[in-house]
């Protein structure tokens, strides 16, 4: 396997800067990266341009305000922002509040763990590669599913996570999902 660069992904770095330092320049970078993607993403399932913009603005403001909730040991910036965007879109479409789980207790003495952050990052990158390599129709199916166009009966991904700590489970979960995606090819 080719050695990839050992760095945390740029959006995650920006988001940590926003979280820890309330860094406006980093937030500006996050906006430039995510706002057009969010708009494109939201418009894919029929949300109009004006409403998509409203949601983008709302999501980015939430990113600023709730940055303290972001934990790079558990997710990349894009995963965290995806969930905020989907929840917001659904709240608006269905006029309801999505129930969200409480955060599970942090491990005691939660010093930043660079190797865990990097591992999450690398697994997420592998996952992206796996998605890229899918057949066009499968890619389309996955895309529709995570945009909310499919019912849960139509999303067929199998279960069976092995035991371990929460953090390593997330990594395993990512790896397993990637294997599932690769198995589709």
């Amino acid at each position: 396997m080719p050695q990839k660069k050992q760095e945390t992904s740029q959006p995650t770095v920006w988001l940590v800067l926003v979280r820890d330092l309330r860094d406006r320049a980093a937030f500006s970078e996050l906006f430039d990266y995510f706002a057009p993607r969010l708009k494109g993403f939201l418009m894919r399932n029929g949300t109009g341009s004006a409403q998509a913009e409203e949601i983008v603005q709302d999501v980015m403001l939430t990113v600023w305000r709730k940055a303290s909730m972001f934990d790079p040991h558990r997710a990349q910036a894009s995963a965290w922002i995806y969930q905020i965007a989907r929840n917001r879109q659904i709240d608006i479409i269905r006029k309801e509040n999505r129930p969200v789980p409480e955060e599970l207790a942090q491990d005691p003495g939660s010093e930043p763990d660079a190797s865990q952050i990097l591992a999450i990052d690398q697994e997420a990158e592998h996952l992206k590669t796996a998605i890229e390599q899918l057949q066009p129709d499968q890619k389309d199916m996955i895309q529709k599913a995570y945009l909310g166009d499919l019912t849960h009966k139509e999303i067929s991904i199998q279960t069976g996570l092995p035991l371990g700590t929460v953090k390593s489970r997330i990594r395993l979960g990512l790896r397993r999902l990637r294997k599932e995606l690769e198995g589709l090819r």
């Binding site: 057009p36 997710a75 965007a85 409480e102 019912t151 929460v166």
Partner: protein, 211 residues
């Protein structure tokens, strides 16, 4: 605490992450994930897929003024939203549905009580209280039913369910859950259709009790 053995299926977590689950089920899934490290991990994995799709989605330019407006809004004081932390046996999504107050139980007879949290269309989420050793009348389901144990445990034809466990019932499940000895069993139950009781009398009472 005993280990959780009955989890939310992965497909349902994917549906939850992507916003495909009706509200009653989303509440049970959120409550279970609050208690379950394994399903919390699965949630993280599915969010990563969503994130990957977000990163590779088409760039559509936003209006030129949006960024300036947004940067100006960063210092606006936030209207504080109430935060409902977990309390006792109730994880935070349940406390939020209860608006921070204790449940208002309505008796159903035989010591069984319920407290309806939300009811939208045909679907509902409720808390159910079953005294130790008590059976819930035979019932079948015309739709999907998710039951999450918050206190005590119950057993039925399919197995034993303790704190954190979720039972998934559908059209094919006709069961008689019985609360085990010990603490009363308290569950969070969601349906997308009214339950159908097998015996005559409870069926007559169904519209009255809204079960």
């Amino acid at each position: 605490m005993n280990a959780i053995t009955h989890h939310i299926p992965d497909t349902m977590i994917a549906a939850y992450v992507s916003g495909n689950l009706p509200h009653p089920f989303a509440m049970v899934v959120a409550a279970h994930i609050s208690l379950c490290a394994e399903c919390s991990a699965s949630l993280g994995a599915h969010q990563a897929v969503g994130g990957a799709l977000l990163e590779r989605s088409d760039n559509v330019a936003v209006s030129s003024g949006m960024k300036t407006d947004l940067m100006a809004m960063l210092d606006t004081p936030i209207r504080s939203e109430p935060i409902f932390d977990a309390k006792g046996i109730f994880p935070s999504p349940v406390m939020e549905a209860l608006k921070g107050k204790p449940p208002r139980w309505k008796t159903l007879g035989m010591g069984v009580k319920q407290s309806i949290l939300t009811e939208v269309g045909g679907g509902s989420v409720r808390l159910i209280y079953i005294p130790a050793g008590q059976a819930v009348p035979d019932h079948s389901h015309s739709g999907l039913e998710l039951t999450l144990v918050l206190q005590g445990s119950f057993s039925d034809e399919t197995g034993r369910f303790g704190v954190g466990d979720v039972e998934i019932g559908d059209e094919n499940l006709e069961h008689t859950p019985i609360a085990d000895a010990g603490d009363a069993c308290i569950c969070l139950a969601a349906t997308d259709a009214p339950l159908q009781f097998s015996s005559f009398l409870p069926r007559l009472l169904q519209p009255i009790f809204r079960i």
